[in-house]
């Protein structure tokens, strides 16, 4: 565990170093306004990252969750508008269940046909996106049509301040949901047998079943968990930006995976932690945010995200190899 802790420590150090450098280039970085904005941008990517983390620890990968998020968001909001439902709690349950149900398909194919997770989730992601656009609709639901309760809920702030220029800003309460989910995931991974079974499966699948873990259940759990979190995050995202776009989240899967890898999770499975992932998500969001502040073109942001994935993976691979010597 000491090595494990050490890699999180290193990530934290890099993060602080990066914050100091960015702060030097652009002092506005340290303004509360900007920091609150950063934290807000952590919420959606972060919740999705928790799901991807769990999948990656189990030795798998998921690239379909963004499609599931879009489907869960769009279907739930469409249905809410159709039946004129005015609540908050049940829609989130519905979105979570939609994601969970779709995740079960991933697990089914991966388990039953021993297929490679990347291929399966590429396929299911594409199918779900296509079905959503083909059967449900392509039109964006704007603020005037969006259920107002959802918007009101997502507007909740923890702190509200007024800046020197007179504009209002605040720290979104949604960060609590994110941190709550992170804490729950951490406790689950670290302190339950089901959580340990995920590490066991990612470390040595054959041994896991020999020892007596129910690997089938673990596999289903992992992909359902990722789907469920994505579904939840999808609806929350729609509520926070006040619109539901069925084409949303395209390409976001790479950002999320980059964040998880940046957080020290091994792409080969068996290693990863919630704390690392929180740090990884923060780092990724911060880097992208700084690029925007520095007015770097969005196309170049893709380059940065790609590089982050490559460098972070190389570093973790290097770490794992060094340990074997």
């Amino acid at each position: 565990m000491t090595l494990f802790r050490r890699s999180e420590f290193i990530i934290a150090c890099i993060l602080f170093a990066a914050m100091i450098i960015i702060g030097l280039i652009n002092p506005a970085f340290w303004s509360l306004d900007n920091l609150f904005g950063l934290l807000r941008s952590n919420v959606i990517i972060g919740i999705m990252a928790l799901g991807v983390l769990v999948v990656m620890i189990s030795g798998g990968i998921d690239v379909s969750f963004t499609a599931f998020a879009a489907a869960a968001m769009y279907l739930t909001i469409k249905l809410m508008i159709y039946i004129g439902y005015e609540g908050v709690f049940l829609p989130f349950v519905a979105a979570t269940l939609i994601g969970l149900f779709l995740g079960a398909f991933n697990a089914f194919f991966i388990h039953t046909f021993r297929m490679i997770p990347l291929i399966v989730t590429l396929g299911t992601g594409s199918v779900v996106r296509g079905l959503l656009l083909g059967l449900v609709g392509t039109s964006v639901i704007n603020i005037d049509k969006m259920p107002q309760q959802l918007i009101a809920f997502a507007k909740t702030d923890l702190v509200s301040l007024t800046s020197a220029t007179g504009t209002n800003f605040g720290l979104t309460a949604m960060i609590l949901i994110y941190l709550g989910l992170a804490l729950a995931t951490h406790l689950f991974l670290r302190h339950t047998m089901a959580g340990r079974s995920i590490f066991a499966l990612g470390g040595a699948p054959e041994a896991a079943s020999r020892v007596g873990f129910n690997t089938r259940r673990t596999l289903f759990f992992v992909y359902c968990f990722a789907g469920a979190l994505a579904g939840f995050a999808g609806l929350l995202h729609g509520s926070m930006i006040w619109l539901a776009n069925p084409r949303d989240f395209a390409g976001l899967e790479l950002d999320v995976i980059a964040a998880v890898v940046l957080g020290g999770a091994s792409i080969f499975g068996g290693r990863g932690s919630v704390i690392g992932t929180l740090l990884g998500v923060f780092m990724l969001v911060m880097v992208k945010n700084s690029l925007i502040i520095m007015k770097v073109d969005t196309t170049w942001q893709r380059v940065v995200v790609g590089l982050i994935i490559i460098v972070a993976t190389a570093l973790t691979a290097w770490r794992d190899r060094k340990k074997l010597v």
């Binding site: 565990m1 090595l3 339950t192 340990r196 040595a204 054959e206 041994a207 007596g212």
Partner: protein, 499 residues
């Protein structure tokens, strides 16, 4: 209470039309150390799996504590106190020693949450029963093989084992580690636990076992107290014929002074210190020492994988400094790695392609591969190496360990190598194949005039094949045993003296 803990009576097992086991009986008493010997394919693995409840026997009866048990599942086998330690140990490399040791117990108790203090307590208790100490917080993948094995044994003991079955437990261990393992085994025997070794290393089995059962082609061919056997008797039982135990000693030819390989003052900072080595054509020189003594580094340096060495290397009088594997091959060096499975072979590819992998440049005409030339070369090599397979197109993963090793040797012969470096040439290979591989290596030395450097932990192998044995320790050559004094006792003593 019956005299026997576990009794197999006339067990038969058929897979389709294939008979894997034919009326095999085996009885294990509580607290006895029993050895099950047999070559690859003799039915050893099948019988382990029957005892573990993975396979159901087609015929016969299993008795545990004198009571017949039928339709035993793996879980029931564990409940009866039978624990199997497979060669891969079934451990979790990404988890700590403590967690690996405690997981079984926690699972057995049907726990839903993990109490980490209890995990440590369980792990400490498990190691205490073996009388060993270990860093509980180390990840298992950072441990050496011997450490992993101790964790696996401790885990089995923890699960209230009454019989621990160990599949080829000594394969990847050095002599020191084997001694340590045997101490632990005697210790758990004193706690009333029976141990069944499944192995083909007769010498070590003779040392520790009390009773022996030998399988050949799915039939029991010999059994009895260990005192009734000696090494040739076991070998005969396992292979069905006598194997020549003839010792090979190279005779220096007069006048021929140019050595095949001449290494002067070879050093690598931190791992090798001033190595001087001369190998002549036809000579087989052994290289031994503890793991980490630098012997593998030396091989890798000669083979162009540690290009930053200092000193000179000459092959047939020509100075070379291999910076890449390609350069090493071109200068007549060949290296057969320790782990042929991960380092040397393309498992899903055919024998032919594996043989050609390093010498394919010699079979090219213009832009294309000369198919008739490759077919001729590989077919003759296939015959010369006596590879047991339907033909050169069989994928290598269908072959036994011994046959795979022959494919690797064949590959290097095709490169026209003049110096052959073998690292653990018969690790994991059964006695019959081993003798054939040794014969092949000697032929390469005598008939093809190769100089062979044989890195090995296998004392009999070194003594039988090598003209002299060099002992390495901490990156230096510390000892050399010449042809006049080379025998197993001397070599064993000198190796044991290393600390």
């Amino acid at each position: 209470m019956s005299e026997h803990l576990l009794e197999l009576k006339n067990i038969g097992k058929r897979f389709g039309g294939l008979v894997a086991l034919d009326a095999v009986s085996l009885a294990i008493k509580p607290g006895e150390i029993h050895c099950l010997a047999g070559e690859n394919g003799s039915g050893k693995s099948t019988i382990i799996k029957i005892m573990a409840g993975v396979y159901q026997p087609s015929d016969g009866e299993i008795l545990i504590d004198g009571k017949p048990v039928s339709g035993m599942t793996p879980a029931q086998s564990v409940q009866h106190g039978i624990q199997v330690i497979y060669q891969d140990f079934s451990l979790f490399g990404n988890l700590t020693v403590a967690e690996n040791l405690a997981l079984n117990t926690l699972l057995l108790e049907g726990k839903r949450t993990v109490n980490w203090r209890r995990v440590r307590e369980l792990a400490e208790k498990a190691l205490a029963r073996l009388g060993v100490t270990m860093d509980l917080d180390a990840d298992v993948e950072t441990l050496p093989t011997s450490g992993k094995q101790i964790v696996a044994i401790a885990r089995a003991v923890m699960a209230d084992a009454r019989l621990i079955i160990m599949d080829e437990p000594t394969t990847a261990l050095t002599r020191h580690e084997v001694d340590a393992l045997f101490r632990i085994v005697r210790d758990i025997q004193a706690q009333g636990i029976a141990v069944l070794f499944v192995s083909h290393k007769m010498r070590e089995m003779l040392e520790i076992s009390e009773r022996l059962t030998v399988l050949r082609n799915g039939k029991k061919v010999a059994e009895g107290p260990i005192g009734d056997f000696d090494e040739p008797a076991i070998t005969r039982a396992m292979t069905g014929h006598d194997l020549t135990d003839q010792v090979y000693r190279w005779q220096p030819t007069k006048g021929d002074t140019l050595p095949r390989l001449d290494v002067r003052n070879l050093s690598i900072a931190g791992s090798l210190d001033d190595i001087n080595l001369t190998l002549h054509a036809g000579e087989i020189v052994g290289l031994s020492g503890l793991i980490g003594s630098g012997r593998t580094e030396l091989a890798l340096a000669l083979f162009g994988m540690h290009p930053k060495f200092t000193g000179t290397v000459k092959v047939d009088g020509t100075g070379v400094h291999p910076r890449t594997v390609q350069e090493a091959i071109a200068s007549g060096l060949a290296y057969v790695p320790e782990d042929r499975l991960t380092e040397g072979l393309f498992l899903t590819q055919s024998i032919e392609r594996n043989m050609l992998a390093t010498s394919i440049d010699n079979f090219v005409r213009g832009l294309f591969i000369d198919r008739s030339k490759t077919a001729k070369a590989t077919t003759s090599m296939f015959g010369a190496m006596q590879i047991a397979a339907p033909g050169p197109y069989t994928p290598v993963n269908h072959l036994s360990g011994g046959n795979q090793q022959r494919v690797v040797l064949a590959r290097w012969l095709l490169t026209g190598a003049r110096v052959l470096i073998l690292n653990g040439p018969t690790v994991g290979v059964d006695v019959g194949s081993k003798a054939q591989i040794h014969r092949k290596i000697r032929e390469l030395a005598t008939q093809d005039g190769l100089a062979v450097l044989m890195i090995s932990d296998d004392v009999p192998e070194l003594v039988q094949n090598c003209n002299r044995v060099i002992i390495m320790h901490r990156g230096r050559f510390v000892d050399e045993i010449g042809p006049d004094v080379l025998d197993e006792d001397t070599l064993n003593d000198r190796l044991k003296a290393l600390k």
